[in-house]
Symmetry: C2
Subunit: 219 residues, 2 copies
């Protein structure tokens, strides 16, 4: 997929410096990933293609883990009220991939802020940089799932007000309009299942909708 990103609190400088290799890992995994789609089970749009968070998450994990990223790293017990684990970590870089509902953006951001202030170690070094990966607003998706433009606006407002100081790179997953080969996956249940029933590369056409939201149709 294509990516766009925005840096907060000096993330760009950190990545240009000590964390270049960690960024390259992420960039390689994301830009070599095909768009993943699945069938919606929402009333009135049953069967229509929507962004597939299960497939996308799986693909990212399959890419990062062999590159030395630790997955689901436990949160220390002193911070257990902030959750059980962070998605990925390597050398003080924490990655959160977030396709769930929009409030997770501020949850992930603020708990990361505390991990940073407390110098919590997730992998080798104290938390120094957070990379948050989200999908673009262009994709038809489950309602209320977080999207890049929304996350961007929220983080920008927060950082202007100095609410958080941890360096964050917010990464958005995009796809150009037009024809695209996407990974179309059927799961063993219409909702929630992570068990692949069928998976195949299939061609779709992405066309612009009214505003930023697009339509995705099989060719």
């Amino acid at each position: 997929m294509h990516i766009q990103y925005q840096d907060f609190n000096g993330a760009a400088e950190l990545i240009a410096g000590d964390y270049r290799e960690e960024w390259v890992d992420i960039e390689n995994v994301l830009t070599s990933m095909p768009l993943h789609l699945k069938a919606s089970d929402q009333a009135k749009i049953q069967g229509r293609a929507i962004f597939d968070p299960v497939g996308t998450n799986q693909h990212i994990a399959d890419g990062l883990v062999p590159r030395g990223w630790e997955q689901k790293i436990p949160i220390p017990s002193s911070f257990k009220f902030l959750g059980t684990d962070v998605d990925f970590g390597k050398n003080g870089v924490v990655v959160e991939v977030q396709f769930s509902n929009y409030p997770f953006l501020l949850n992930n951001t603020i708990r990361s802020e505390l991990f940073h202030r407390a110098q919590t170690i997730f992998h080798q070094r104290p938390t120094s940089l957070i990379i948050i990966v989200v999908k673009a607003g262009m994709f038809p998706s489950s309602n209320s799932t977080l999207y890049y433009e929304q996350a961007f606006n929220q983080l920008e407002a927060l950082s202007h007000h100095g609410v958080f100081t941890v360096p964050i790179r917010l990464v958005g997953l995009f796809e150009p309009l037009g024809r695209v080969w996407a990974n179309w996956t059927g799961y063993t249940a219409a909702r929630y299942s992570r068990i692949v029933g069928s998976r195949a590369l299939k061609e779709f056409e992405i066309t612009a909708g009214r505003l930023g939201r697009c339509k995705i149709d099989p060719i």
Copy 2:
């Protein structure tokens, strides 16, 4: 129901001063409310009584609106990326009732922080005090729904680190162990429906479980 609360950033002093009447409204509504229960539709615990967010939300709205609280007050367009509205407001006091998943706590808290810093007016006066109402951890509930003890720990950690400065009173809804008459509601669908099919006061027994979580059984 019984309530417990915890104050952050001077909320107690504000309530003892200018906002006594607004607090009395909320206290009266919450303490005169019966426990609301519904049937779970979760696999393996189908039909078991769980905390009913729909009924509880409805009861609170029915109590606050006649007391002069404005409901679903629109967020000004300059902050539209923070959402569409806040639950209730009166004279600069904003109430958020939150029974959805846990990340909404930090979403509601941090967006309230921005409303406070920007002196956003929701009802007559600039946002001066936030009251967040949640259920206690004792109740069987839908998975991952926010609970008081979790919210308490998160807000405490945040305020210790100075991440937010807006005065907040966090209010938890509790029920003593033993027999209780609760509002048992059947909705027109097993999930999501807000249309009451049947509603009746019914007696339940609340017994202590392993840790804080309790069991609730019909008598």
